[in-house]
């Protein structure tokens, strides 16, 4: 009888110890998980920025696809996200060839002297996570045409765990994806883009919409 009680006691102790160890492992992996570094140079060429300026005759809508950069994101600590995104200004274009030339020219973006537009993350605020989607207000430095300004933009980050292989049609490739979306406005005069000129032809406010995906392959 005593032996049976002892055996049960030992078995129960073993179960408790194993459960505690497993819990500790889960908690520690969540707490001490290293942030993932996502590379935003997209081999599929899907990453894009769209911009829109109101104008007298029609809205000027353009696109840019030359996106690169890295973002460090930890799904368990999204508030600690850091990173830098770059856009090659030469990739910006519009449908009208004359407007496209003006856009690249010295008066507007001066792409010869300023080949990139950059956004560098400083901090995240109002971070909310629901399932795999995190929304936050990101404060960062936006540099356009050599002018660096601190801006605050709303961002959504969608963490797609183990979806890299499916995206590039290589199931053997393991890794995560991070989809970053934001929409915000800038005043072109603030960045020396033909400041105060041609406002009858193109609005001062530029509406920007960014949708990009980064990949973090597992080594």
């Amino acid at each position: 009888m005593n032996r049976s009680i002892h055996a049960r006691y030992h078995a129960l102790s073993l179960v408790i110890v194993l459960t505690l160890m497993a819990s500790l492992a889960v908690v520690s992996s969540a707490v001490f998980a290293a942030p993932l570094t996502f590379d935003f140079k997209d081999p599929k060429g899907v990453n894009n920025v769209q911009f829109k300026l109101d104008a007298a005759l029609e809205s000027i809508t353009g696109t840019g696809t030359g996106i690169s950069g890295q973002v460090s994101f930890d799904p368990s600590q999204p508030a600690a996200t850091t990173g830098r995104i770059e856009l090659a200004t030469k990739s910006l274009t519009v449908g009208n060839p004359m407007m496209a030339d003006h856009l690249q020219g010295a008066t507007w973006l001066d792409t010869a002297q300023h080949p990139t537009i950059t956004f560098e993350v400083i901090s995240l605020a109002n971070v909310r996570t629901q399932a795999n989607v995190t929304t936050a207000e990101v404060t960062g430095y936006l540099t356009v045409k050599g002018t660096k300004k601190q801006v605050k933009v709303p961002v959504s980050l969608t963490h797609l765990a183990d979806k890299l292989g499916a995206r590039v049609n290589k199931p053997q490739l393991k890794g995560d994806l991070l989809v970053l979306r934001t929409q915000f406005e800038i005043n072109r005069s603030d960045y020396g883009i033909n400041p105060g000129q041609g406002t009858d032809k193109a609005a001062e406010i530029i509406q920007l919409s960014l949708s990009i995906a980064g990949a973090a392959p597992q080594s």
Binding site: G45, N47, N48, L57, G95, N96, M99, A166, R167
Partner: protein, 87 residues
């Protein structure tokens, strides 16, 4: 004969200008040599632009045609210089 030719040319220019504009979609903006459509990436859900080369005549095409046609019609009213026999 001279006046008729100028007026016929004016009408042709106007018809070609307006016709081109109409056939390429009667776009009420500036001329476009490329347009984009949005497609969705299946895995990420990102809508991305796919740009293709095309010609969409803008309002400046029929407008320029109208200006040229007007010039031709006005020119048709000018008297033709006659070359008489030299004395």
């Amino acid at each position: 004969m001279f006046r008729r030719r100028f007026r016929a040319a004016a009408l042709s220019v106007l018809l070609v200008g307006v016709g081109t504009w109409f056939v390429t979609g009667a776009h009420r903006g500036w001329t476009q040599t490329s347009t984009f459509t949005l497609q969705r990436d299946e895995i990420t859900g990102i809508d991305y632009p796919v740009r293709r080369r095309t010609f969409v005549a803008g309002v400046e095409i029929p407008l320029a045609a109208a200006v040229l046609a007007t010039v031709l019609v006005i020119a048709s009213f000018f008297p033709r210089r006659r070359h008489g026999p030299r004395s």
